[in-house]
Assembly symmetry: C2
Homo-oligomer: 444 residues x 2
Amino acid sequence: MHKEPVDFIVKGDYVLTMTDSEEPLRGGAVAVRAGRIVDVGPSDDLEARYLPDRVVGGSGKAVMPGLVNTHTHAAMVYFRGLADDLPLKNWLEENIWPAEERWLSPDFVRDATALACLEMVRAGVTLYNDMYFFEDASTEGIKKLGMRAVLGAGILDFPTTAVQDTAEYFERAEDFISRWREDELITPSIAPHAPYTCSPGTYRKALMMGEQYDVPVHTHLCETRWEVEEVMRLYGKTPIEHLDSHGLLNSRVVAAHCVWPSQREIEILAERGVSVSHCLESNLKLASGIAPVVRMLDAGVRVVFGTDGAASNNDLDVMSEMSTAAKLHKAVSDDPTALSARTALLMATRMGAEALGLGESLGSLERGKLADMVVLDLDKPHLVPVYNIYSLIVYSAKSSDVESVMVNGRLLIDGYRLVTVQEEEIILKARQWREKIVSAGGAG
Amino acid sequence: MHKEPVDFIVKGDYVLTMTDSEEPLRGGAVAVRAGRIVDVGPSDDLEARYLPDRVVGGSGKAVMPGLVNTHTHAAMVYFRGLADDLPLKNWLEENIWPAEERWLSPDFVRDATALACLEMVRAGVTLYNDMYFFEDASTEGIKKLGMRAVLGAGILDFPTTAVQDTAEYFERAEDFISRWREDELITPSIAPHAPYTCSPGTYRKALMMGEQYDVPVHTHLCETRWEVEEVMRLYGKTPIEHLDSHGLLNSRVVAAHCVWPSQREIEILAERGVSVSHCLESNLKLASGIAPVVRMLDAGVRVVFGTDGAASNNDLDVMSEMSTAAKLHKAVSDDPTALSARTALLMATRMGAEALGLGESLGSLERGKLADMVVLDLDKPHLVPVYNIYSLIVYSAKSSDVESVMVNGRLLIDGYRLVTVQEEEIILKARQWREKIVSAGGAG
């Protein structure tokens, strides 16, 4: 029988397709050619039908879609641990903002994003959604490493280091979108910062631009009780009701946090098809609160995982978010059956891709989709025995069990070995920046 | 100058002694001879004074005391993931208890404990506090691996697979204590199960035996709201008040959980010097609730970390407990300065050793103490840059960053390589038991 040539067969004791079928494929495989999944099925079948250039994975492995980090500020990784265990106001106003004021530049963003992306890929994240400044500077490193990103420069109603006024924010955003909208790894977005920093007019402009170019709209929403009070003070409504009253919420919107929605606001999020990026570890560490994730999911809101920036988390580890969330929301909803392991893994993969408008081509292992996937190494003391593979991955596995990572049909990590970039160089650069920052007195 | 011979110099960019001095030792080292720490100080000084057989660690490393897991049921690791996302009653009564009924034996405990200990040592845990059955069966594996354990067979007022009646529990406990009390790695304990399974008379006997042999008393206490109601029903008092009213709480007691203490009960725990083993991830996953850790610490209670068994967690990872706790308790106490990184690390090291009555000889890196320590590898993308080493270890490091582990002056893990046991064998045995358990229909 003639075998069809393919680039890869990726094999595992378990293949978690994250399609609607709940049963993991035992002894399964994924065939990949020219960046796409051409077949998924039992390993024996695929090996009989396809002739691969390379076989990846095998016995003692699990294969799943790449993880999606739906909210971060990647370049803030250089401020990881710069100021911890402080009151929020002090953390932000006396440490993070002055550090950004002092250090932000295209060079900083380029070098810091390279580190953040390396950390994410090592942790099985193949796609992330970023809001920061100088996004152009990060593209080179992302493409060299070979991962995917949705990038949007934050838009505010006041000037920042990067930009003078609102008009300039939109000019730059439009320029960025035009240049990157056809890229195969980078998806541009439009990113109005938050309801307390952007007027309804700014949001309206952002949503129109999102519509015009068919790109996601990325914002912060309802993160702290302070925000709820501030938006009440400014507009006489709570944040989600406020935006909705202006017709500013739709399925293009990815709203980070949503820690303090009212029940009515949860219904609004569901009705409008807004995706909520749940940034649990950051919300916990900054004592912002605990988002009502189970109530949001029950109401039909698409809730997905984000890490937020590493200055408040302090890592970019979606597996850890998933694990913490699947446990914590059982306790806070007083129900040990809440947020099942499989639901958590869906939130971290397929639903994450859907939230970013990329669900058609990413998020599950299905014929015709782009080949983004992760191979987990199960030959570890903390990963035996296996009774339920979803449970094992969500409650017991760690990002350090990620053995191989493929994006767009290209291996970025191959048996723990980084293929496309030099880890030592990126780490060394981070240490050099740290010396500069510390010798200048930190933030000051 | 004549150099004094030592077995090891253990070096790191940071040495966290976990003594009262908060400043980490930069470029520090620990000199070890015959199982004990003979000196701690700047690396240059120690290398000028001592001639080591081996240098461990070095640049890009951090050295800290071994972590202490103050509550687990190690052998339950073979039930990891056997039954997840279920209501507590169903989980326990229809899955875990029948599985124990069907499978518990000295062979099971021996093989399962070997896996649990391997997982713990790999995660930097050098000492754990166990309550289970057939504790004798676990000693061989613990000693071969070379870690420390406090072991106590659970005592109940009804028979189990292992034992017929209360008298036999105590006979066996006394026998176990007599045989192991002089061991250098194993410390016997006495372990009355919980206030709803042990009468005050049983607790009294246990405390007297603890006193007589100077060993810790290990119990479950105030884990669920069900327990609070049940003890109220049985004795007309809440669990902690109940035990205290019989004079059954003192500084020998390590009480696992304490999720639902009243403010008065928190004061009792502090007054009596009871140590509380906080098993956060297990409490979250079983939806038992969230223990008021910050209020307990503020009241002067010694709160330390436990993983509980891997059937409810689902791992034995103290670094993960520490990280989750340090973030979560900020949110639940609405204070981002609560449970600082350094406090969390103290709870996981020195306070853990103190809780188990071993604070004199373990828990910090000080001259004269036993040489139990961990070397962390900081050359990882998620561990740069370093502004504050406590923060880095608690919020960003993972158990997979544990590069070397020393217990009693002996290297158990040497640059990620396991020295004393065969990992493959232990993993294979776990998979063989899993086949047996699954082919017999799981619990049935």
